[in-house]
């Protein structure tokens, strides 16, 4: 078991390193391959008003003339241990994890991200709770009443849910609930949980439901398929032969057996969402990581984009690690590995 955990941990670190290499390559190597000189790269840091001479100095100081491997080393060191930036006026300390400075605001990226993280986490976790409960419950009921009206209706809605993009369902729900019925806020506001939990939930309600609808649909289908399979297993017959109540048979024996694939997908989905629910946050103008990413891309603010990319990758890798470890808890046979 301990070796299993250690192996998964090492694997996660390896994954993160690979992600950092790829990110580095995309942001520093690809422009080079496209023909950019050291000065072109540096120009973006010092601004358009700088003279050719200033750019040249900056390029040297920022290390764009060093071999690529050295540049990557510095990049990686910045993330792990922080870095000192020296671009003209003076040396600035960028503490770890250093993703660099925004071109526009001249502020380090990480504190910016840290500010926006609670919004994204609130959105993702809240929606996750709703979609897991709704999706799994619908899937279980559909499987038990296969072929019934409920099953067909639920699966049709699920199909619609999977097919409709969030900016469509989001807009429709806004029109319906905020502008029409005026039950919920129109979006754009976020109250921290610690300030007022009730307002926090009220503000996020519509985004939660919209986001959860998209995911719940997939989970309902996945759960239904899994339940149809496990409910045919021999151990379900054994559970019934013991005289267990049907509810216990379904939940304790059936659902438990169908849980593993759901867990896998859940880890991936949550990891991805924590890296920014781009569409949802844009639709509801929520100041989260996703919105930040969209804005950064719009402004071509490379350090910001890079920061978001790395943070998102980090969440995906960590989510996968957690899923792998949970696997061993859910399925004792995994512990043999």
């Amino acid at each position: 078991m301990v070796t299993y955990i250690i192996r998964r941990l090492i694997w996660s670190v390896v994954m993160l390193s690979i992600v950092s290499i790829i990110t580095f390559a995309i942001f520093f190597l690809v422009p080079r391959l496209a023909g950019a000189t050291s000065e072109d790269m540096a120009a973006r840091y010092v601004g358009r008003t700088a003279s050719a001479e200033q750019v040249k100095v900056a390029a040297e100081k920022l290390g764009f003339n060093d071999p690529l491997i050295v540049q990557y080393g510095r990049f990686a060191k910045g993330i792990v241990a922080g870095a000192d930036y020296d671009y003209g006026p003076g040396v600035e300390r960028c503490p770890a994890p250093c993703f660099g400075y925004s071109f526009l605001t001249r502020l380090p990226v990480w504190p910016d991200l840290l500010d926006r993280l609670p919004v994204t986490i609130s959105l993702a976790l809240g929606a996750a709770v709703i979609w897991v409960i709704a999706g799994v419950a619908t899937g279980v009921l559909s499987a038990l009443k296969r072929g019934s009206f409920f099953d067909r209706a639920a699966m049709s809605i699920a199909l619609a849910g999977v097919s409709m993009p969030i900016f469509f369902t989001g807009m429709v729900s806004l029109v319906l609930f905020s502008y029409g019925l005026k039950i919920t806020v129109a979006g754009g506001t976020y109250t921290p949980f610690l300030t007022n939990p009730a307002t926090w939930a009220y503000d996020l309600l519509l985004p939660w439901i919209t986001l959860a609808f998209l995911y719940a649909a997939g989970y309902a289908r996945l759960t239904r398929a899994g339940m149809l399979e496990t409910m045919n297993e021999d151990y379900i017959r054994t559970a019934r032969a013991k005289g267990l109540r049907e509810r216990t048979v379904v939940v304790k024996h059936g659902l438990r057996g169908a849980l593993t694939p759901i867990l896998t997908i859940f880890g991936l989905d949550l990891g991805l969402l924590l890296g920014g629910a781009v569409l949802t946050e844009s639709t509801y103008s929520l100041p989260g990581i996703g919105k930040y990413a969209i804005d950064a891309i719009g402004r071509q603010d490379l350090p910001q984009v890079m920061g978001v990319t790395l943070v998102a990758a980090f969440f995906v890798v960590v989510a996968n690690l957690v899923v792998d470890l949970l696997y061993a808890v859910v399925d004792p046979r995994v512990r043999l590995v």
Partner: protein
């Protein structure tokens, strides 16, 4: 009335291709402390019978008909909830493949504890002690440690012992074992058969063994019921079936089986053709297309369903052949060829 009595039991499944009569009019009686062996090939209805008795026939789609009397209670007409409370307590079941019949995610102990606590209002601690006792009783070494193992950590034989411990945990009066040793190795099979024999004596339960293996029923059963196409085609004591069988299908089963206790015969004597599909059961006697003696029934075989009639002292046979013809065929044709080397 006997402890367990089936009267004209029917288990029918409506399917897209038509009505499948898995069990079609089955009657028998069984007392506590006695063992009934139900023998048949795939699709004979032997497993569906056991599931029907326990009320475990698949979903609500199957139609159950006839009567099942267990200890004076009728079960076909009883509510599903009432039958559930009897399952595991009054009647329990052992399945063929203990690996797939146990939940892979729960420890063996917790699965036994669960079975015990449904029907007994006891604390987890008491139930755990009981589970350890049961595991010890079925011959699992170090039961206090093995109680916390998962099914995959057990060997095949140990798993089947654990299955038996689980089935017996509430001291059931009727125990049904569906191919209990088919998935096991020969030496382990022998251990499990011994164990079942001993436990049945201790628990004084009525035991039904369902199997395709005539050797297994010969080791354990007092009475034997041979099924074919959803019907009982021969019923009698173990000696009736092995010493003076009267149905051509039973003869066929005996002739198909190489035996270690006799000299090796030059050739096996198989039954021609394959077991029938239950959707398309042959008209008349279901066995007639495979029967060697069909031509001696005077044409009735393919038109008329034979009745199950008593030939002598509780020995029942469902065959159109006249009793004397059957007996002379057995004595002069079948028996010598089974023994000839």
């Amino acid at each position: 009335m006997s402890f367990l009595e089936l009267k004209d039991l029917q288990v029918h499944f409506p399917t897209d291709d038509g009505l499948v009569k898995s069990v079609d009019g089955l009657s028998f009686a069984l007392e506590r402390g006695k063992t009934l062996g139900i023998v048949g090939e795939s699709g004979s209805g032997k497993s569906v019978t056991s599931l029907g008795i326990l009320g475990l026939h698949k979903g609500g789609r199957a139609k159950l008909g006839g009567e099942i009397w267990l200890d004076g209670e009728e079960l076909v007409g009883a509510s599903a909830e009432h039958v559930r409370t009897l399952r595991g307590k009054k009647m329990a079941m052992i399945f063929q493949d203990p690996l797939s019949a146990m939940h892979p995610f729960y420890t063996v102990g917790s699965q036994i504890i669960e079975a015990y606590r449904i029907h007994n209002d006891v604390s987890k601690k008491v139930a755990r002690k009981h589970a350890i006792d049961m595991l010890g009783r079925v011959g699992i070494p170090q039961p206090d440690r093995r109680v916390d193992s998962y099914p995959h950590e057990f060997s095949g034989g140990m798993r089947q012992r654990a299955m038996i411990a689980m089935a017996l945990s509430c001291d059931p009066e009727l125990l049904i074992a569906d191919e209990p040793t088919t998935a096991l190795d020969v030496t382990v099979q022998a251990q499990i058969l011994d164990l079942m024999r001993d436990l049945q004596r201790d628990f004084n339960a009525a035991l039904i063994i369902i199997t395709h293996d005539l050797g297994v029923v010969a080791e354990l059963a007092d009475d034997i019921l041979v099924m074919y196409g959803g019907k009982c085609i021969e019923y009698g004591t173990a000696e009736d079936i092995f010493e003076r069988p009267e149905h051509p299908y039973t003869w066929g089963l005996l002739g198909s089986m190489p035996r270690l206790d006799r000299d090796r015969t030059e050739r096996l004597l198989p039954i021609k053709g394959s077991p029938p599909s239950l959707i398309n059961v042959p008209a008349g006697c279901a066995f007639h297309p495979r029967c060697t003696f069909e031509d001696r029934t005077g044409g009735k075989a393919s038109t008329e369903v034979p009745q199950l009639v008593e030939t002598e002292g509780g020995h029942l046979v469902r065959c159109h052949l006249p009793r004397d013809t059957r007996r002379s065929i057995w004595e002069t044709e079948i028996k010598p060829s089974l023994e000839a080397s």
